[in-house]
């Protein structure tokens, strides 16, 4: 047994020995230990190095507010930095290391920074990175060079780069009452609300419910408070309407009573169970919230208050009562309030020698004096600690007489030998969530603390959170809050009786003892009282500016222990009362949140993806798949040894020579139905659809309201009131939103329903000179000759026993047909078409060949309809009906949209017979050394097997007028320069003779 571990006491399991490693040294602890308590029990008191000065630091606290003892936990290749040792539950095999030190925690060369105190004062970065204004080092380059070294010397832990294999999950929860915090107030609130029949969630960031009852040493209803906790939690656990969430930090309070919480599900285990996540992110939507989040004890600000061995008083009490660990053998307490006396008694009972109690107040109450007597401590009232002594561990301290009204020290300093100094500067209610919920904290002169604001959302406070620090008050307020939150009435009831050490909850208004030496306000960011005063001297008045200039209250602890002392020192410097200085608004998260839990499972194999009905066939038949938005589409069906270019050239060439088939299931498909469907389409499209005959399709163009081109596609009239609209793959969602907006908001009188049927249909486009013969070979129930199935005609028939709908339309420029079948029959029909095509040399082709053939034909896609082009730019002005208004018609003739120098669609042919690049600029005169004078850019390019040339589509100023002229591509990023000829975008079969047959 370690000398610091008591033989009895605490809630640790002494029968269970746990082996773990810290900084490469093996230690043991017990079940229920945190890394902090286990290390303390092993006599390890140096746990970290401070942010700027690399001062040795030990434990300040025992909970989530810990600013000093930040460690990095290693799991396999993954390292998670900046975790308070107080929040790490030990398990067999736990590997933790200290951080921000080199080469070791005990011998850190950056500790030399302590000599540069003035240099590293407030505003260091602002002052340093300005750079010299004259001389050879003028500018910021030199300082950017220095930054690397400065950042190495100052900072927290470093994150790893290994992929995190852990599982993270998101959960959604709904409840009538969410209780945050499970001390006596929270437990009573949860019980009262549950008794009313409300659905209750009780969340606590600690692994065990009970809060202060776990270490207060009080009795409730005649039994130890820990027994009362155990009974109450068991009652709650047995109820169907209560969900208990231990190890769950509620870290964000958002609108409409939506709260965010992080559950550490398996961090405390050597291995998670199968399927068990590491963390769960809970999005909780609560009818009402009871905030019973307790309070944080504040440090006092005095020289040397950061030395290992100096700790918050209640933290020592926790270590003694909850973990059976003594933080020291010879203990001195330094306080401005009564609560430290209880801590002194607890430590005395646990076996420590209480050397002295130093109280800034001139005359503590008789009860406190009696308590001091019980601890056999020397009571030094009207005194203050003015210095601490020792190296990496406390060996003693100096006290001096202190007038708390004048803030003046007097007399000679007296040395006291001690290995542990416990301080208590009063208590700050943990109002973070209430602050996040939207209201301004209110200063209480009595409590010398900011109390929660009046609720702006549906929450009720209870216990220490409201400034009611006694357990009796917590129990009463908790029950009342639980009842009120559940909508019950506060009927009189016998409350549990509490036996506790009495004490005045109001501290003396003393935050700092001004004496020589560094007095730390913000331990985690190494901000001293002098830094705060320096900020004031340099003109900072606003508390928001103070925070940013000094970095007070930043970092991972967000100033949980430092905010109020910092404000008090600033207020004194300004000569204003604290409430006039104000406080910063807390923002989420209350405590650090793993990025993994926020991302949850939307990555890797679980990222949503869309697959066409023929996806597996494509994979089984050699397709290289290509991600197109969320869809996966075949890029090429490469043969062995083929390059991508060789494959698509082969596929496109074969299609033009015989026939090719491509999966077009991804095209957006929207059913437009209802008596006013035709009228609606006339308004949506630039061209007319009400004149379209049933059984025919028409190519349509949509504009946005501002007159720019939006999307294109064919729409098929399947019935008098029944249209099937197709859209581009990428724009399907946007077009759907566009249609729904106009139906819901602009023309609600139209009887039209729009429904996404993209997934209802599998689509195969089959094109080429032999496409009709292939169809004729496999389609039954209808003819497919020119009379029955003319260009843009639709017929219904069957392929291999499956109903199909065939429309004759072409994207490739060949005689082509789109064959639609039910998606569940897609592969069946596809395979039947492939089989029927074998005698005709049918090839499958992918997106690359599809793109090649459309470029050869000069058809536009999203690359050209890019949100900046008009119908005229794309030579689609023939589609702009003059007989009717349509969306965008009122705006499309604006001056800027019809200007002669707009970029027009053209074709380009590379005159140097080299590949062109998408995005390359077009210039009139080439200047490789000083590229300039862009007249446009390439939108799409390919090698054209039909032309035997490298070609491209481009948007070029005054494009049409430049047909037949020469220009150059200028692509300095890829070092591609060369001559091109500007031609019509219709490279291939401009008359459309192949398509019309």
């Amino acid at each position: 047994m370690s000398p610091r571990r008591a033989d009895t006491g605490g809630r640790i399991d002494r029968l269970k020995t746990i082996r773990f490693t810290f900084d490469g040294i093996a230690y043991t602890g017990h079940g229920g230990d945190t890394l902090a308590s286990a290390l303390l029990a092993n006599g390890v008191t140096l746990l970290g190095r401070s942010f700027k000065y690399h001062r040795p630091r030990g434990l300040l606290s025992a909970g989530v507010e810990e600013p000093n003892a930040l460690v990095t936990v290693l799991k396999g290749e993954v390292r998670e930095p900046n975790i308070p040792a107080t929040m790490v539950e030990i398990h067999d095999g736990l590997l933790a290391v200290s951080q921000n030190r080199f080469p070791s925690l005990a011998w850190d060369i950056h500790a030399v920074n302590q000599l540069g105190g003035k240099l590293l004062s407030a505003g260091f970065y602002y002052k340093t990175f300005m750079g010299p204004v004259v001389g050879p080092l003028k500018g910021t380059r030199f300082w950017m060079f220095c930054e690397h070294f400065i950042r190495r010397a100052a900072g927290l832990g470093s994150a790893g780069s290994a992929k995190d294999p852990a599982r993270y999950e998101r959960m959604n929860a709904f409840c009538d009452v969410l209780v945050v915090g499970s001390g006596p107030a929270g437990l009573m609130a949860a019980k009262a609300a549950a008794d009313q029949g409300a659905r209750v969630i009780l969340a606590d960031l600690e692994p065990h419910f009970g809060g202060s009852a776990n270490w207060s040493g009080e009795t409730i209803d005649g039994a130890w408070a820990t027994d009362w906790v155990r009974r109450t939690v068991a009652q709650l656990a047995a109820r169907d309407n209560v969900r208990l969430l231990p190890r769950t930090t509620v870290w964000g309070y958002y609108d409409n009573n939506t709260l965010a919480a992080l559950e550490r599900v398996s961090d405390h285990k050597e291995q998670p169970a199968k399927g068990e996540p590491r963390h769960r992110y809970w999005a909780i939507r609560a009818g009402s919230v009871v905030l019973a989040t307790g309070a944080f004890e504040r440090p006092l600000v005095f020289p040397g208050n950061d030395r290992p061995g100096v700790m918050l008083a209640h933290a020592a009490e926790r270590y003694a009562n909850e973990f059976g660990v003594l933080p020291g053998q010879r203990v001195v307490l330094f306080t401005n309030n009564d609560s430290a006396y209880r801590s002194a008694l607890a430590l005395k009972q646990a076996g420590a020698a209480i050397v002295a109690i130093v109280d800034v107040r001139p005359q503590p109450s008789a009860e406190m004096s009696a308590l001091a007597g019980e601890t056999e401590a020397e009571l030094l009232s009207g005194h203050a600690v003015v210095a601490t002594e020792g190296g990496k561990a406390l060996s003693g301290l100096k006290v001096q007489r202190f007038d708390m009204v004048a803030g003046v020290l007097s007399g000679d300093a007296r040395s006291v030998h001690a290995d542990c100094l416990l301080m208590s500067g009063g208590w700050s209610p943990t109002i973070h969530l209430a602050s996040q919920a939207g209201a301004k904290a209110e200063w209480s002169a009595a409590r010398q603390a900011f109390l929660p604001p009046k609720p702006t959302q549906k929450w009720i406070g209870a216990g220490a959170f409201t400034g009611s620090f006694s357990t009796v008050e917590a129990i009463a307020e908790g029950r009342a809050a639980g009842l009120a939150a559940a909508g019950g009435t506060a009927a009189p009831a016998a409350l549990p009786s509490v036996e506790a050490i009495p004490g005045d909850p109001d501290p003396a208004p003393v935050f700092e003892i001004r004496a020589s030496g560094k007095s730390f306000v913000d331990f985690q960011h190494d901000v001293t009282a002098e830094d705060v005063r320096l900020a004031h001297r340099e003109g900072f008045v606003s508390v928001e500016h103070l925070k940013r200039y000094t970095t007070l209250g930043m970092a991972t602890d967000q100033g949980k222990s430092s905010n109020v002392p910092g404000l008090a020192i600033m207020a004194e410097a300004l000569g204003k009362p604290i409430p006039d200085v104000g406080t910063t608004r807390f923002r989420p998260p209350f405590a650090p949140v793993s990025i993994g839990s926020l991302a949850a499972e939307r990555f890797g194999d679980l990222k949503p993806e869309r697959l066409t009905p023929m996806h597996d066939w494509h994979l089984a038949n050699g397709a290289t798949m290509y991600s197109a938005g969320l869809w996966y589409r075949p890029m090429i069906y490469g043969l062995s040894g083929e390059t991508v270019e060789q494959a698509y050239v082969r596929e496109a060439k074969a299609t033009r020579e015989s026939a090719g088939i491509v999966d077009v299931s991804t095209l957006g498909k929207i059913a437009v139905q209802g008596p006013d469907a035709a009228t609606f389409l006339d308004r949506v499209y630039t061209n007319m659809f009400s004149t379209l005959a049933v059984g025919k399709a028409r190519y349509g163009l949509m504009l946005r309201e501002d007159g720019f081109a939006f999307d294109d596609g064919t729409t098929w009239r399947l019935g008098e009131q029944d249209f099937l609209m197709t859209t581009t793959t990428a724009n399907a969602g946007r077009v759907m939103q566009h249609l729904e907006y106009f139906l819901d908001v602009v023309w609600p009188e139209l009887k039209v329903h729009v429904t996404s049927v993209t997934d209802e249909w599998a689509g195969a486009a089959i094109g080429g000179p032999k496409a009709r013969q292939i169809l004729a070979a496999c389609v039954t129930g209808t003819a497919v000759d020119n009379a029955t199935l003319p260009f843009m005609g639709i017929v219904h028939g069957e392929i291999a026993g499956v109903p199909v709908m065939v429309c004759r339309l072409s994207f490739s420029g060949e005689m082509a047909f789109e064959v639609y079948s039910g998606a569940g029959h897609g592969t069946h029909v596809w395979e039947a078409l492939i089989e029927a095509g074998k005698p005709f040399g049918l090839v499958t082709y992918g997106l690359e060949a599809l793109g090649t053939m459309r470029i050869e034909k000069g058809h536009v896609t999203g690359a050209e309809i890019d949100g900046r082009t008009t119908a005229r730019d794309l030579h689609l002005d023939w589609m702009l009906s003059k007989k009717k208004p349509f969306i965008g018609s009122a705006m499309m003739d604006r001056e800027g949209l019809v200007a002669s120098d707009r970029l027009d669609l053209v074709g380009l042919i590379a005159l140097d017979n080299r590949p062109l690049n998408g995005g390359a600029h077009i210039v009139e005169e080439i200047d490789e050394a000083n590229p300039r004078g862009s007249i446009g850019h390439i939108t799409a390019c390919c090698y054209s097997p039909a032309l035997g040339k490298h070609i491209a589509l481009a948007l070029v100023k005054g494009g049409k007028a430049r047909h037949g002229t020469r220009a150059h591509v200028s692509d300095p990023l890829r070092n591609r320069f060369g001559p091109v000829e500007i031609v019509s975008n219709h490279f291939y079969d401009p008359e459309g003779t192949r398509m019309h047959g």
Binding site: M171, N172, K274, P613, Q673, G674, D759, V802, A823, G826
Partner: protein, 195 residues
Amino acid sequence: MVERQSPLEPEYHVGSHGNFEHGVEILLTETRPGSIVQLAAWPGEEKKLIAAIRAVAGLALPDGAGGGLSDGAKSAFGFAPGKFTVADEAEGLAAAFARVVTPAIGTVTDLSHGRTAIRIAGPKAEWVLAKFFAIDFALPAFPVGAGRSTTHHDVFAQIQRTGTDQFDIYVFRSFARSFWKALCHASEEVGYEVQ
């Protein structure tokens, strides 16, 4: 009749999977209804559409948002104002409705191929679904028969509660495999069986 191909096939692994510490707490199945039809009424014609559902499917839906019914073979529920999803084990539902739902009442859209129906059942069904949807799955808030429209990531989903611990989820066919994989993954923690 040619059988429809399931989009889940390569990822549909019949048998028990995951953590069996508490036994199998989730049952997953693809229900493969023969018909899935979307019905939509013009404003003011909702009651006539509800009457049409009763006439064709024999399901007397309650009036009100999200109300629904299931008799095991047929299911119907409202998923938006005036809009309903109706499913049937048998094929041909769209044609049957087309005869009854006149253009004056509303529209009929056949989605039998376009949606995939997945059933999740078992004591942990609510728990697993809570990982996906911001919906209150508690029985009082989401009674048997009722339906909801929601999304998981980019996957639009309609959910009908067809039993105390049983839900039928209708997702777009193209997303179905992705959704199924995620559902299996999320069920591992509590042990699941694919039937």
